[in-house]
Every structure is written in structure tokens, then in C-alpha cells.
């Protein structure tokens, strides 16, 4: 049940946080504590799903359901949870290597479904927990601290990829603008559909390029600049998407944060399912009784009616 007047501290778990001092992840989890408290969510109805990486530990630091999955697989785990119990509020905290490296296939697939799940990507340009290799968000030619040579692969544009994949809420924030981040997280959670937030997160141990300084100098809020990301129909969607894409490319000198794109014209996956299975949202898989006194709830009559196409009566 929801805590009355929850405070951010209520969402702090008892686990000692072993991120490096100064790590950008602290800002992310702080924003989450605050937002969960403000939204006054039920800890039992909120599932934090995470992948493997420094970011993956987030699930343990939050006092809500926590599912710390496999490297690259947080999204399909989250989807399974959401599909069988759509009542749950599912939030994914995931590393950039995890989501856009090994997990890129799942990232693309979830966009196609518009599942009502919030994905917060901890964008630190490195594979931090394995000691600083280049993540797919690191630009070609950049050489962060533990790389023996400059990075050889081009960076993914996460906003661009999310647009191409069909996410209906796409935003960027920055771990040390906690208020901004918190608001973005709120919007992402409140948005019905697949929401993706690229959270710039300095890794103070392995990334000596994208430091707090680096970001502090560069980030600016596109909403403050007047960008309205909302698309209410298919036509607007194309128009907003392409403009959002143009915005997302400018990453060198000034880095835009804020909501890039929000499309409310696409049905969510549970709505799609509910069309097919009319009781789905009210009576999802997790809530259906499947036995009565140890017996199957399907009795002989239901069985034979249901599968009548397979049954024949012997007639001589």
C-alpha cells in the first residue's frame, strides 16, 4: 500500500551504496527518490528493473520491487512483468552499454510495442563496471581514461535511435540537474507508452572528458527555448520527429536537454492487447486464479467445448 505522505527517504533501501564518491548515478537515484515520494507510489506496485553495470545496482538502492536482471536484457524482463501485471509501474534503470550495445535489439523492439514502461538510460559513455571501455555513446576519436587508443566506433545518437524505434516519449536530462531530471522522470512515468530518457551521467572514475564541468557548460533546456514536443496525430508525429532529430544532432558545443518528442496518438501495448482480449487490463494473467481446490479451473465441459475441433465421436 502507498505510504502516507511518503518522503524521499522512504524510498531509500538499507543497502550501502557503493558507487564511487561523486558518481553521477547519485543524482539519478536522488531524483528518483524524490519523484517516487512526490508521486506517492506504492513501493509494491512499482518495479525497478535494471541491467548489469554500475547503473544496474540502482534496483537495490531503492525501496520498491527490484529486479536486477542480465546484461542487455532489462527490457524483455520488464516487458514480461508489465504484460502479466499491467497494473505495475515499471521503471528501467539501465546503462548505456547495456541498453544500446548488447541490448540494442531489445531497445528497438520495445519501441515497436509502445509498452507503457519508462526507461532511464545512465549515459556515462563507458562500460563502467568492467572498468571503462567505450560504450556506444562515446564518440569516435574520443579517448577516455582507460582506453589504450582513441575510440574506433561512432557514437549512437540515442534520441535518433529512439525516434526510429517508435518510442513515444523521448527526453534527455542531466544527473546533476536534479530538479529537471525529476520532472522529466515524472513526465516519463506519467506518459502512457514507451518512454525513453537519456540521462547524462558523469562517470568520475573512467570518463575524464564528459565531466560535470563539461556538461555544466554545455547543457541547455530546449523547453526553455520554446520547443513543444507534442504530437497529437500521425502527421504531427512525422514533423515533430524530424525536428527532434535535427535537435538531437547538436551535441558538441551545446547539449540540448528536455523533452524532444511526445506522441500521444499511438496506442499502448496493453490497449492493443485489450482489444484482442477484452478483459485483459481488468483481469491480466497475474490476477487470474488457475486452480480451485487443487484442480484445474477448466472442467471437462469447458475443455471439450473449447477444443471441440480436435474431438471426434466414434461412430460405427
Amino acid at each position: 500500500m502507498a505510504l502516507k505522505h511518503a518522503s524521499p527517504n522512504d524510498f531509500r533501501s538499507s543497502v550501502w551504496n557503493d558507487w564511487c564518491p561523486g558518481c553521477g548515478n547519485f543524482g539519478i537515484v536522488a531524483a528518483m527518490y524524490q519523484m517516487l515520494a512526490e508521486l506517492n507510489v506504492d513501493p509494491e506496485k512499482t518495479v525497478i528493473v535494471s541491467g548489469i553495470g554500475c547503473s544496474g545496482k540502482t534496483a537495490h538502492f531503492i525501496n520498491a520491487e527490484g529486479v536486477h536482471t542480465l546484461h542487455g536484457r532489462s527490457l524483455p524482463f520488464a516487458e514480461g512483468i508489465k504484460l502479466s501485471n499491467p497494473e505495475l509501474n515499471v521503471i528501467v534503470n539501465v546503462g548505456d552499454g547495456d541498453l544500446l550495445g548488447i541490448g540494442a535489439g531489445h531497445f528497438v523492439a520495445m519501441g515497436r510495442r509502445n509498452m507503457d514502461i519508462t526507461v532511464l538510460m545512465h549515459d556515462n559513455t563507458v562500460y563502467a563496471l568492467t572498468k571503462g571501455q567505450a560504450a556506444p555513446t562515446l564518440k569516435r576519436g574520443e579517448q577516455t581514461k582507460s582506453l589504450p587508443r582513441p575510440n574506433m566506433q561512432d557514437a549512437i545518437n540515442p534520441i535518433g535511435l529512439a525516434l526510429a524505434s517508435g518510442y513515444t516519449f523521448i527526453a534527455r536530462s542531466y544527473s546533476s540537474r536534479i530538479k529537471h531530471l525529476k520532472e522529466i522522470i515524472r513526465q516519463a512515468i506519467e506518459h502512457r507508452g514507451s518512454a525513453f530518457v537519456d540521462v547524462l551521467q558523469p562517470c568520475v572514475t573512467f570518463d575524464d572528458i564528459h565531466t560535470y564541468d563539461y556538461y555544466n557548460k554545455r547543457v541547455y533546456d530546449i523547453q526553455e527555448n520554446g520547443w513543444d514536443p507534442l504530437a497529437k496525430n500521425e502527421q504531427e508525429a512525422v514533423q515533430k520527429a524530424t525536428q527532434a532529430l535535427v535537435k538531437s544532432y547538436s551535441m558538441d558545443e551545446r547539449i540540448p536537454i528536455g523533452v524532444f518528442y511526445r506522441n500521444i496518438s499511438v496506442p499502448t501495448f496493453d490497449e492493443r492487447l485489450n482489444e484482442r482480449l477484452p478483459y485483459y487490463i481488468k483481469n491480466p494473467p497475474a490476477k487470474q486464479p488457475i486452480e480451485k481446490d487443487g484442480n484445474a479451473i477448466i472442467d471437462q465441459e469447458i475443455f471439450e467445448n473449447t477444443f471441440s475441433d480436435f474431438i471426434t465421436e466414434i461412430v460405427r
Partner: protein, 626 residues
Amino acid sequence: MKEIRYILGGPQGGGLETSSQVLSWAFAREGYNVMSDREYFSNIKGRHSYVHATILSENDTPALAYPVNVLGAMDAETVFTHSYDVAEGGYMIYNRDESQVKVVSVASMEDEYKEILMKKFSESGISGTIESVADYLARERKINIIGLSYRELLGELQKSVNVIAAQASRYVSSILIGAVAALTGLNESSLDYALQRRFKSGEVYEHNLAFSKIVIKQVKGSISLDKPIMGGGKRLVVSGNDAVAMAKVVGGLRFQSYYPITPAADESFTLEEYERIGGGSDSIVVFQAEDEIGAIAAAIGSSLTGARSASATSGPGFDLMTEGLGWAGINEVPVVVTYYQRGGPSTGQPTRGGQSDLLSAVFASHGEYPRIVIASGDHEEAFWDTIDALNFADMFQTPVIHLVDKFLANTIASMPVPQVSNAKIGRGKLVATNLEHYKRFDYSSSISPRAFLGNYVMWYTGDEHNETGHITEESKNRVMMMKKRMSKINDIEAGIPESRRYSLYGEEKPDIVLLGWGFVKGSALRAIRDLKVEGIKASYLHIRSFIPFPKEIITKIFREYGADRIIDVEHNYEGQTGFLVAMNTGNMVKRRILKYTGRPIYSNELAVAVKRIISGSTEEVLDLGS
């Protein structure tokens, strides 16, 4: 005759499957036991495919065997391919318009097979045309050749029901229905019934009915098939895929994820068709994932919410699931994978059968975690094993792998309608409500009370963890958690009795014991009956569970009969069961009958091989069937 067997062949995509279904229905309705195997290439249209069926008048499971009594050929390739498959006195129906077609000119036939056939033909003095084959069969093998002009038959159909030529040509496969019906004297009403069942009412049904009558008139000859023993009641006529799907519905499955793969995918389609359970407000979510990694992850995620969850796949997909299975193992998540084995390794023989995935299933994923691996030998077993699999997963809170195979999946068989009151559902140890502090991995017993996401705050992680599910690397906890988790192996040993792990058939004091599993069952049972007639006393030990393993019975038979009288019969190269026998009991299997062509073991070749083994051979490799 107590049973008849037939092969119907034609190009893949040419309607053969439908014809075979119709015949199966018709015979089942008469009270026959039916078993109809489908063999086809990894191809959508044009390659040779055939059904190989046994119709049994007795109340027993029919076995697949050679030779057949009837060969019905849609095309020339079928005639060539199966020239040597018909029994003396049997029948061959073919298209006499193709009499002059030569084997060399059949483009769709694989070169390897063409060479073999041409060699055989030249040895038999067959020139290579259809006509020459037919002549040879009539002359040398006393086979009744029924050459019909398919063109003329279709012409008649056109006249009688007023369809255009292009449409009429779609009915070629229906000629085989008529032919088999005519030869076996199938009741007209049963045929009518079966056609209706397949096509509902409407044009196609009517055309087929009309056409079968046209054909029946043309087919001279008859095979005296005994009247069936079963006198009434209801029968299920299903493929293995369908049997499993039905059982999942009965067994309370509420979430199935899958990624398309032959021969597993049909199960998910059937589930999709019946997703609204009994038409009420309950339903199964059938989820097409982006790959098998996603499929297993989604099934596990779903299971955490309390919904019974499963996936179905085959070798390549299963490989991709191994990492996920390990996560389910360490997190004690009930999840079922129905594993449809096909010919391996790698893509291998995607539409052929095999049993070569046993060891990879038993040892899947790095590290150690408890798991259950059971295997089904026929449609009825597959039905009940599916329900068991779901129950075992919940009871022991661990992954269950249910091994079936392509043979079973694609074979249509008749079986009793399951008494669903026998379907018990056990959800295992669930947490009592209203706990103050819930610990998912409570040490108080090896199987901790389970709660579902949405009810209590809890944590899961693939890392080693403490009772609450948080990561810890501390040594003592590691030992305790490993012991708690792994000692479920003991619970499984205790909870699934030895008697559930095998079935023993045949002679009480046998000279020979066949050891097998899965689809070997049908042929083994038939072979031991046939061997009995020849004075050889054999029994068949059918393994139904690999984890837990039927250690006691196997130890006993090795002790009682000695390794020399035990023959491992499997659809693989290495005799994989032998490895598990050694591992579990220390006994080394010494004699083997193996088949790995992707075609099923036929009872006749099995019986012959057993005799060879009795005469001293240690290993027989079977290769019957095209």
C-alpha cells in the same frame, strides 16, 4: 489385416497435409487408432513431402513402420522416391499422365538421392521413367498399380461442380483421399464428416466431397482392414504441438512467449487461437518476442508476477535461452521451456527430428542450479507431462525443461480425450498473507515461500544474494545460499518418485532390455511385440525424466541383466542417454541402436537391429526412410 500403413506424397505446399488430416479424422471417427507422421524439407513450396501413416484396428498406440500397403503419389517425385516402400500385394496410385517422366528430370530431387536411386534402378533393371518403375513393381514385387489420369479426373471434377481449370488443379491432393478411402472401404459418412470438419461447409468442402466420389469410382482394388475394436466414445485427434498447447491451457498457463522456429512455433499459434480461455474473461497472453533471449526473459519476468509462464523453442533458440535459464535458476523462478528437438547440430535439419539435444538441455547454462528435465514419448504423455512441468516448476521454484521432438510435434495421432479432473494444479509454497518483512529467499527451508511482484517489496538479482535478494559476496552466506538452493535437488528427488521417472513395458523376464525415451516409444513397443512372435523376449524401459533420473530401476536392470543385454535406442549419434546412465549409476552402456538421419526409427528396422545386436553387433545405425 489388423492395421494398414500408407504413404501419401507430393510437393510441399500442395495440400498433402490437409489430405492427411482428413483421412486421420475419418479413420479416427470409425474407431481406428491413427498415427500419421509428416516428413518435409525446410522449404515452403516444391520439395518432396509425404505423410506416413499407420491405421490400427486394435486399441493400442500405432507404430510407424515399413513397408506400406498403399503409396499415393501426387507427382512423379513421389513415385521415384518411394518406389521401394510398398509391400508385396500393396497398391500404388499415380498419375499416368506422367508415365514418361524420368527420374533425371526431377529438378526438385536432391542430387544425392537421385544418384542413389539411379543406381538402385539400374540394378533393378528400371530404365528410369515412371512407367518403368510401375512395371517393375507390378512384375517383381506384385504391387497393384493404379494409374489414373489426374488430368481426366480433374476434368471430370470441373464438369461436375463447375470450377475453372486453375481452381480444379488445387484438388490434386484430394485424389489421394479418394484413393485411400476406396481401397480401405472407408465409410462415406466418415469421409463426409472429416471433410466437413476440415473445411466446414462451403464450396471447398463440396468440391472435395464430389471429387472423392469421382475418384472412388475409378479406384479398383481393396485392402481388408479389420473393423476397429473401439466401439464408441470420444477421441482426440491432435498433433504433438496441439496436445502440448491444450495441456498448457488446462494447466493454467497464462503467459507464453516465443520466437518463431520450426517445429516449436505451431504450439504457440494454437495457444494464440485459444487465448481466450473457454471464451470467458480469462486469457493467455501469447507474446511474439524479438528473439529467444527476449522470449525467455519475458517469460521469467512474467513468472515473477505470479502468472504461470512458459516458452517453446528448438535447438538454436534454446541455445540463446541458456543465459536466461541460469538467471531463473539462481532466482528460483518457475518457468517452463518446451523444447522441440530437431536434427542438429546448428541449423542442422530444421524440419527433421532428433534427440540430440538431451545433454545440452541437462547442462544448459554456466554454473550450477537445480533444474528438472522430463521427456514425452507420445501425445498422451506430452499432454500430461506438460501439466506436470507447470506444476513441478511451481513446486520446486525452478526451471523445467520439457523435451519433445519434431516427430511428436508434427505427427497426428488419436488419443483418449483427457479426463481433466485428473489435472491437479499445485502452485507450490506460497507466502501467507500479511507478513511484516518478506524475504524471498528465506533460509528456513530449501523452498522459500513465494510471493509475487505487486504484493511485497522484494529484490531479485542474478548475482549471489542474501535472503532478501540483495547482492552479497560474503563467503558464509554464499555457502548457505548455495546449499539452500542446490538442496532442492534433494526435494526434487524426494518429490518426484522413481515410478514417475520411467515406464517399463514388455516381458517380465526379458532376454533383452531396450532403453529409450521420447518418440522411440511407439516403435520400441511394437518391436518388442514383433520380436516376441519370433521368440525373442524383450522389454522396453522408457525414460520419462532425466532430472530426476530413474537411478534405481536402471541400476537394477544393469545388475539383473548385465550391460550386454541392454540396448540403448536413440535418435542421435552418441547415445547420449548412455552418458547420463553412467553419470547417475556408474553403468556403461555397451550396445546401441542409433538413428540420426532426421527420420523416425521404424519398428521394423528396430526389430532387425535388435536381432543383429543379439547376434553380436555392438552398434547399429539405422537409416530407413526418405
